[in-house]
């Protein structure tokens, strides 16, 4: 398989003017350690073979590329789905966590910590830690532990300790703060298994390296299936890991448009959204310069989205750079648009998508209208929607009482 070289950040982790390391000095040496270890690991055939084997045997990677005929007919363009929903634990997240857990082993760290919004990255982390015999602690905002009791139970079943975070807004950004506070105190024994392509260098580049299989596979699969590349590659953007994983495979193919779909929530104009690039400004959050939702004083604002996995006021710096250079476009899809796309995929293909991924589908529907029936649109179906059944059932009015057992498991 031929793969395009990824855009490398500079030595200090900058993608153009974005990225870098805005972190307490205490964490700089550990970040340097990870940077070096990751460079070594990538160049070590034993490590890469081991990682490839685990992804293949355990995570069910490579995921198939699937032509969604009935969905295509309805939306009026040819739609290909990269089926990350079929991976173990039900999303692209497993690629990142297995890679980082294996790196933690290589670094000799017996413990991993992770943040999670509603539990998806937490469940993936707990899974990888069980698989690779690491102690695992997951920080989760108290608001989310209450909304996502089932995922809390999943993580605990897998042997992880789940710590409810009671500071700040008690959601994902505060879980990241608390994980960083743990890490600065325990860094000798602990790896921070960061969940998306954001944060300080080397996380954006490392997570990108780990998720780029999505795009590399999809590129080869497109050539095999179509004899050519798609016209557009579309992915949802929370912190940015699935989107950067998809985009990296195509970034050198200038004829392929790259479109990231952000969570538009109630609509950008309402201020209640999580569309960081579309509706935010440049600033520094969680260790990197990028776009973020902030007030006039640079205080972080709370984001809003029906999709917990997109509900983050920041975004990875490589996306900021791709937006600034114009190589990728970023657009919002509202809660309502995402849920309409969610329903359409259920009904036409028998696939329940993650609500995150439904945002990408909503973006594809708009692109299909714009481009017409000759267009081929590749959509990253980043995850499956089992976790979202409760949210969706409530949204569509399919149940009267909350189903306690399946209480909100979205992320």
């Amino acid at each position: 398989m031929t793969v395009s070289p990824p855009a490398q950040p500079d030595a200090r982790g900058h993608f153009g003017r974005f990225g870098g390391r805005f972190m307490p000095e205490a964490l700089i040496a550990p970040l340097d350690e990870i940077t070096e270890a990751w460079e070594d690991a990538k160049a070590d055939p034993t490590f890469t073979a081991e990682l490839a084997r685990m992804l293949r045997e355990y995570a069910n990677v490579p995921s198939p590329l699937y032509e969604a005929h009935r969905f295509s007919e309805t939306v009026g363009a040819r739609i290909l789905l990269k089926r990350e929903d079929l991976n173990h634990t039900g999303a692209h997240k497993i690629r990142n966590v297995i890679g980082q857990a294996l790196l933690a082993k290589r670094l000799g760290k017996p413990r991993a910590i992770a943040e999670t919004g509603a539990g998806q990255h937490g469940v993936a982390s707990a899974t990888a830690c069980a698989y690779l015999d690491l102690d695992c602690t997951v920080y989760m905002g108290e608001v989310d532990t209450e909304r996502q009791a089932l995922n809390v139970a999943r993580m605990r079943m897998l042997g992880a300790e789940v710590v409810p975070v009671t500071t700040g807004s008690r959601t994902l950004k505060d879980a990241i703060n608390e994980a960083l506070r743990d890490w600065v105190s325990t860094v000798d024994t602990t790896h921070y298994l960061f969940g998306t392509a954001a944060g300080p260098h080397p996380f954006p580049a490392m997570v990108r390296d780990l998720t780029r299989g999505i795009g590399d596979e999809a590129r080869a699969q497109s050539l095999e299936l179509l004899g050519r590349l798609p016209d557009v590659a579309v992915a949802c953007v929370g912190g940015g890991s699935n989107a950067i994983g998809l985009f990296t495979g195509f970034v050198a193919d200038e004829e392929v448009r790259l479109v990231g779909i952000e969570a538009g929530g109630d609509g950008i104009e309402t201020g209640r959204h999580a569309a960081t690039i579309t509706g935010g400004d440049i600033g520094v959050l969680h260790g990197a310069r990028s776009y973020l939702l902030q007030d006039e004083d640079g205080q972080t604002l709370e984001s809003h989205s029906i999709s917990a996995g997109l509900d983050y006021p920041g975004v990875g710096p490589e996306h900021a750079h791709l937006a600034a250079t114009g190589r990728a476009e970023y657009r919002p899809a509202t809660d309502a648009e995402a849920m309409a796309a969610f329903e359409l995929l259920c009904r036409t293909e028998g696939i329940i998508p993650a609500i995150e991924s439904a945002h990408a589908l909503a973006g594809a529907i708009v692109l299909a209208e714009e481009l017409g029936s000759d267009a081929t649109i590749l959509v990253n179906l980043s995850g499956r929607g089992d976790k979202d059944v409760h949210t969706a059932a409530q949204y569509f009015g399919l149940i009267e009482e909350p189903v306690v057992l399946d209480e909100g498991t979205e992320e």
Binding site: R12, G20, R21, F22, M23, P24, E25, A26, L27, I28, A29, P30, T167, G168, K173, D174, N177, L180, R181, V184, S185, V187, D188, D281, G283, V284, L285, H286, G287, R289, L292, Q294, E296, D297, G298, Q299, T300
Partner: protein
């Protein structure tokens, strides 16, 4: 010579370490934060750190987080922080702002430096801004005669210590522990070796902070540093006492205890 340089000149002559006290602006209210600063300077604090309350303080433990939350809930803005700086500087104690980076970047680095200098501020302590990223700040601080107080940590390599010390002015902030702000029962065994590693690469003054909460600990730290930095313990005085009079007298007592501990 900057106000901070003059202070360290004086404490050197007096053969003692300086006492640096931290309180967030706007906590518990703007007015009381000013009175608290005046109180601690009267009682013996030599240099004031005014905290700029921030929504995501990753280097702070529960005490300072709680104070920042109260200050933000009370509507504290960057302009209020500068007002508090002005009042603090009026006491005669050199006053610096301790702030996470994003509020400065948002305000505009050059504009922040100009307004801080105009308010009588002497510099910035930047817990999440390392010299590697500080180009704009190095320039603006130079222009406005502000000290740039960077942090070093027990995990810093010798190379980074030298680089950071070179970029710093005023003093260098040595964090005594691997961890966040907050009181600790014992002074850290990591602090002294860190300070001696620093002494090999710089003769700039070194302040030690994180965890110091009483006179006995201050004495230990003063024995090998140029400044003892106290934060959470001072904040606690204001958190634990509902009435302002009680809070301010607890604050005064603590500062007196710290200074007494530091007498050589």
């Amino acid at each position: 010579m900057s106000a901070i340089d003059a202070l360290f000149e004086r404490t050197r002559v007096e053969d003692r370490a300086a006492l640096v006290g931290y309180l967030p602006a706007g906590f518990p209210s703007k007015e009381l934060s000013i009175r608290a600063i005046e109180t601690m300077v009267e009682a013996g604090v030599d240099l004031v750190e005014v905290g700029l309350p921030y929504s995501d303080p990753v280097m702070d433990g529960p005490t300072i987080q709680a104070a920042a939350d109260i200050a933000l809930a009370g509507g504290t803005r960057v302009g209020d922080v500068l007002d508090v700086v002005k009042a603090s500087a009026a006491t005669g104690a050199p006053t610096v702002v301790m702030t996470y980076w994003n509020p400065v970047e948002r305000y505009g680095v050059e504009r922040f430096a100009a307004d801080l200098a105009a308010a009588g501020g002497a510099g910035l302590i930047t817990p999440d801004m390392i010299p590697d990223e500080a180009e704009e700040w190095l320039e603006a601080s130079g222009e406005h005669g502000l000290s740039r107080i960077f942090l070093v940590a027990p995990s810093s390599t010798d190379e980074r210590l030298a680089m950071t010390a070179e970029a710093a002015s005023g003093f260098i902030y040595a964090t005594a522990v691997m961890g966040v702000t907050g009181q600790r029962d014992q002074t850290s065994a990591l602090a002294e070796p860190l300070v001696s590693r620093l002494r090999k690469v710089t003769d700039k003054p070194v302040g030690v902070g994180l965890g110091v909460s009483n006179g006995a600990q201050a004495r230990e730290v003063a024995a090998f540093s140029d400044a003892v930095i106290v934060g959470s313990a001072l904040v606690r005085c204001l958190l634990d006492h509902a009435g302002p009079d009680d809070a301010l007298s607890a604050l005064r007592d603590l500062v007196v205890d710290l200074r007494a501990g530091m007498e050589r």
